[in-house]
């Protein structure tokens, strides 16, 4: 087919993949962050996401620039360093119909923004919280971040003597109901997890190892492409099946476990790593700690519990967006003021 110009494929909403792209990236060629952006675009397209409902939040860093590079139909908010979670919290409360995607860095979330990360996860804000984890501060030219492995080296030769913070075990500890680790160099796995993440109602924490080609891709780095590839241990093959009212959901043959979301979507999990059960919170913690001690990255869906109520539900908010409630519903009448004044007399 060389002569005909085939029209680009569309999803169920009639959008092409092009409808999910953003502005041109200004990151370094080969930066892991760009590979993540590409999978967000793919997953949103394949998950039939309504672009105008998407909001994209970030802090400051190379990673935090990326919301400008996907889903231009959505609204972006590039805020201040380490404070993306508060922005996501406020906007998601103002309008519970929004589909919230937060993109942050390991510095943004595990150093300056650790407090906000912890509390957003505790509150189960409805959002996909992506940490593009390269072990360094890219944007300020390569200083160590709090996820840098103990004993790892900067390009300059400086050694990190402090232990790393692990976003995944931390998130599980905090009660997060969807925790995954991925590698920007494994698009297939990332795609399946992102699609499952779009269907999840509460906070999804995705720690995505994303090498910084400019400042942390050298031989002595534990976050280089080569090192991560050599130490990546995928837990399972994942299939994500979005709920559809018409089609019967088909589970891929060989799936050892199926997790069903409240909306009817399903994640089919075919284990590679024998005996890893992502619905077993303490078992998951143990396995992750053991693998970290060996210098490995267990990747995949580390922990899942699809039934935790997100914050708007906990607060028993009205179903409509608070932002646009009519005045009549939020402004008490004169009789109420009169009643209050009487009580104060």
């Amino acid at each position: 087919m060389t002569t005909a110009t085939p029209s680009a494929p569309t999803n169920k909403l009639g959008f092409t993949k092009q409808d999910y792209v953003g502005s041109k990236s200004t990151l370094c060629a080969g930066c892991g962050h760009d590979a993540i952006t590409a999978q967000i675009i793919n997953a949103a397209f394949e998950s039939n996401i309504e672009g105008h409902l998407v909001t994209k939040y970030s802090g400051i860093g190379c990673s935090s620039k990326t919301p400008a590079y996907f889903i231009n139909q959505g609204w972006g908010f590039n805020s201040v360093h380490g404070r993306m979670p508060a922005i996501a919290t406020g906007a998601s409360l103002a309008n519970r119909k929004l589909i919230n995607i937060g993109v942050s860095g390991d510095g943004d979330s595990m150093s300056i923004g650790m407090g906000q990360f912890v509390h957003a996860v505790r509150r189960n804000i409805p959002m996909i919280y992506i940490i593009e984890d390269n072990g360094v501060y890219g944007l300020t030219k390569g200083q160590f971040s709090a996820t840098a492995d103990k004993g790892s080296f900067l390009k300059s030769g400086a050694k990190n003597d402090l232990p790393p913070v692990d976003p995944c075990t931390l998130a599980i500890e905090l009660g997060c109901g969807f925790v995954a680790r991925c590698f920007s160099g494994n698009p297939k796995q990332l795609n399946a997890i992102l699609k499952a993440a779009f269907a999840y109602e509460g906070t999804v924490v995705l720690d995505i190892i994303s090498p910084c080609v400019t400042f942390n891709n050298h031989d002595a780095s534990t976050r280089s492409y080569k090192h991560v590839k050599d130490h990546d241990f995928p837990l399972h093959d994942l299939g994500f099946i979005q709920y559809s009212e018409v089609e019967e959901v088909d589970i891929a043959a060989g799936a050892t476990e199926v997790v069903t979301f409240p909306d009817g979507s399903k994640v089919a999990i075919k284990a590679i790593h024998e005996g890893y059960d992502p619905t077993d919170r303490f078992g998951a913690m143990k396995a992750i700690h053991e693998s970290m001690a060996k210098g490995e990255f267990l990747t995949g869906l580390l922990y899942i519990n699809p039934t935790q109520p997100p914050l708007p539900q906990v607060l028993n908010l009205v179903d409509e967006p608070l932002a646009t409630l009519p005045e009549a519903l939020v402004k008490p009448g004169p009789a109420v003021l009169e009643e209050i004044m009487q009580a104060l007399m």
Partner: protein, 607 residues
């Protein structure tokens, strides 16, 4: 035992002070004295007399000394008065010092075992056997400590000729619905009253005589008034973090929201209230909720504003609305957390790094706390920017009498927001394009369908289309427009209030200083110095303020901070008049009083 009520050696004056006196009650924090003091205040209020109360409390839950002053004023002066005609001394630890500081001629009610009557000869002493009375009147020993204070309410009521029925009514009101507590407290007050009736001679220094000045008035504090303003303004997202003296603003709001902000059809809440992990996060929640179209607010004090400042600058630059109540306290740092000051003037005017200017509202009384809280949400959405409503501990936490609040019938101003259809029709829409020339641009809300209106908000450099830009001309265009927007605000913020006695000499004040300034103005006038008073109610300064500064020979700027922060803003705004501004300052943590203003202005005038 007979108490000495003989005329003091240096009498206050021949006349009895009718409905014109101050009482100071010294107690121990956490001993239940707040209830007793409020009852006494309410009872006098119910006698139809203007009354105000100031609680001088420690930063402590229980055990440290606390003082409560009640001022009755027939003329309606409600500022703190520096001198007291009656002392009620219940705290052994401070009693000697309280006596040393007492004004000559004062009546001193005290707990008998303290044996204070030998300390000074120029006071009238009234020892009261509190323990004996409380044991007789209250059957439950474990309540004695709490109820003891109600005894002095009864004694004072008798001495002041406050009707016991009003005391009982005030107790019922204060202890809303708690039948047992009402009964016990009423019994204690009556025991005090009866004891005083039997054992004390009457006195004629200070008296309450029934009047009608408070008919139809309410008693309220500024935090509750602000909370009510926000309730009626339809706030839908609240992010906050506890801090004295601001906590009770949101806490009161929560109580009202429980009752009045449920969707009647579903019982679900029409407001999201989240106690955040700190003020920084609260600020983020407020601005993002505003950005997404909600009416949002937080309430905090100086330390919180300091933490928030990075976000406030973001809100200013990306143009996100939000209402920030700052109930100011004594700084710097933790300072005196339970004392009042107006020392965040410059902080709120220019909060955050870079060139920033904020709209600030300065309510000066309870009605304005209510109204400005309501208006702040309109202003935030109209100007798409953080708005500070600045009060202080004195306004926020003290008891004030006020006219009942008028229903704010003006519909909400939701500002320049384009809906799906308007976006579809708009030609060449840009988030930061100044279409109307007033510096205020048209925004869209996330989630708007139709494929138009999405944009990228960023705290980094941007052009009129919200695109990333480092071009000098784009940067300058945006920040110059922001200044234009601030100019526009001059015709939208509350104008000043004047009290002109006809003079070329001006007095300028704001917020909680108002009652003290009014009283000082009257005293000065009696002494032969007339002044014109402008009470500032907002930043930026409006045309009325320009004219006042232009026309006065001298402007005494009264404020409650050390550095004359508001005067500094005036000198900066009106450099050609810089020498006119003279600072009249009060900053020791107590509420400002008229005397300190009179003294300082008089000293300036004598130079």
């Amino acid at each position: 035992m007979t108490a000495s009520l003989a005329a003091p050696s240096t009498p206050l004056g021949a006349k009895t002070r009718i409905n014109d006196f101050s009482i100071q009650v010294a107690t121990v924090n956490g001993s239940g004295s707040q209830t007793a003091n409020t009852v006494l205040l309410r009872a006098i209020f119910q006698m139809g007399v203007f009354v105000s109360g100031k609680n001088l409390f420690p930063s402590n839950i229980a055990g440290l000394p606390t003082w409560f002053t009640i001022r009755a004023s027939a003329k309606g002066y409600v500022a703190r008065k520096a001198s007291n005609e009656m002392l009620i001394l219940m705290n052994a630890e401070t009693a000697k010092e309280d006596i040393a500081k007492a004004d000559a001629g004062a009546l001193v009610i005290y707990d008998e075992p303290l044996q204070l009557d030998k300390l000074r000869a120029d006071l009238s002493y009234i020892p009261v056997p509190f323990q004996k009375l409380v044991t007789a009147s209250c059957p439950e020993p474990k309540l004695h400590k709490l109820v003891k204070n109600m005894i002095y309410v009864g004694v004072a009521a008798r001495l002041l000729s406050v009707d016991m029925e009003e005391v009982k009514k005030a107790i019922t009101k204060q202890l809303k619905g708690k039948a047992k507590a009402i009964e016990i407290n009423q019994a204690a007050a009556v025991a005090g009253y009866d004891w005083a009736m039997e054992n004390l001679e009457d006195q004629d220094h200070i008296k309450v005589v029934r009047d009608n000045k408070t008919n139809g008035l309410i008693i309220v504090d500024g935090n509750e008034a602000c909370a009510l303003g926000a309730l009626f303004a339809g706030v839908t997202v609240v992010g906050w973090y506890p801090i004295t003296p601001a906590s009770s603003l949101v806490e009161t709001f929560i109580e009202y929201a429980e009752e009045y902000r449920k969707d009647p059809a579903t019982g679900k809440s029409t407001v999201a209230i989240v106690q955040m992990e700190d003020e920084l996060a609260s600020a983020g929640v407020v601005l993002a909720a505003g950005w997404a179209g909600a009416r949002s607010m937080t309430s905090t004090a100086g330390p919180g504003v300091s933490l928030m400042s990075e976000f406030i600058g973001l809100g200013y630059y990306v143009e996100a609305p939000g209402v920030f109540f700052n109930v100011a306290r004594t700084g710097p740092s933790t300072g005196l957390p339970t004392r009042t000051q107006q020392s965040d003037v410059e902080l709120c005017a220019k909060c955050s790094h870079g060139d920033t200017q904020h709209i600030n509202l300065y309510p000066g009384n309870m009605e304005e706390c209510f109204q400005f809280a309501y208006d702040a949400f309109d202003l935030a959405e109209r100007f798409q920017t953080p708005i500070f409503v600045v009060t202080d501990l004195d306004l926020g936490m003290q008891n004030w009498s006020s006219k009942p609040f008028a229903y704010p019938s003006k519909p909400y101003d939701r500002g320049k927001v384009l809906n799906q259809q308007q976006l579809a029709e708009a030609k060449d829409w840009g988030r930061y394009k100044d279409v109307d020339g007033d510096g205020i641009c048209y925004r869209s809300l996330p989630g708007t369908a139709g494929g138009k209106g999405s944009y990228f908000t960023r705290g980094s450099g941007h052009n009129a289309y919200a695109q990333y830009s480092e071009k000098p001309e784009d940067y300058v265009e945006v920040v110059d427009r922001l200044r234009r927007k601030y100019e526009t605000a001059k015709t939208h913020v509350p104008t000043p209030v004047f009290r002109n006695l006809g003079s070329v000499k001006g007095v300028l004040a704001f917020g909680s200083s108002d009652p003290a300034v009014i009283e000082a103005q009257d005293i000065l006038a009696e002494e032969g110095l007339k002044t014109d008073y402008l009470r500032l109610r907002a930043l930026p300064f409006t045309a009325e303020v320009d004219a006042f500064v232009e026309e006065k020979q001298v402007v005494y700027v009264v404020e409650q901070n050390r550095d004359g922060q508001m005067a500094n803003l005036f000198r900066e705004t009106y450099p050609q008049h810089a020498t006119k501004f003279k600072s009249v300052l009060h900053y020791n943590g107590h509420a400002i009083d008229a005397k300190c203003i009179v003294d300082q202005i008089t000293a300036f005038e004598q130079k």
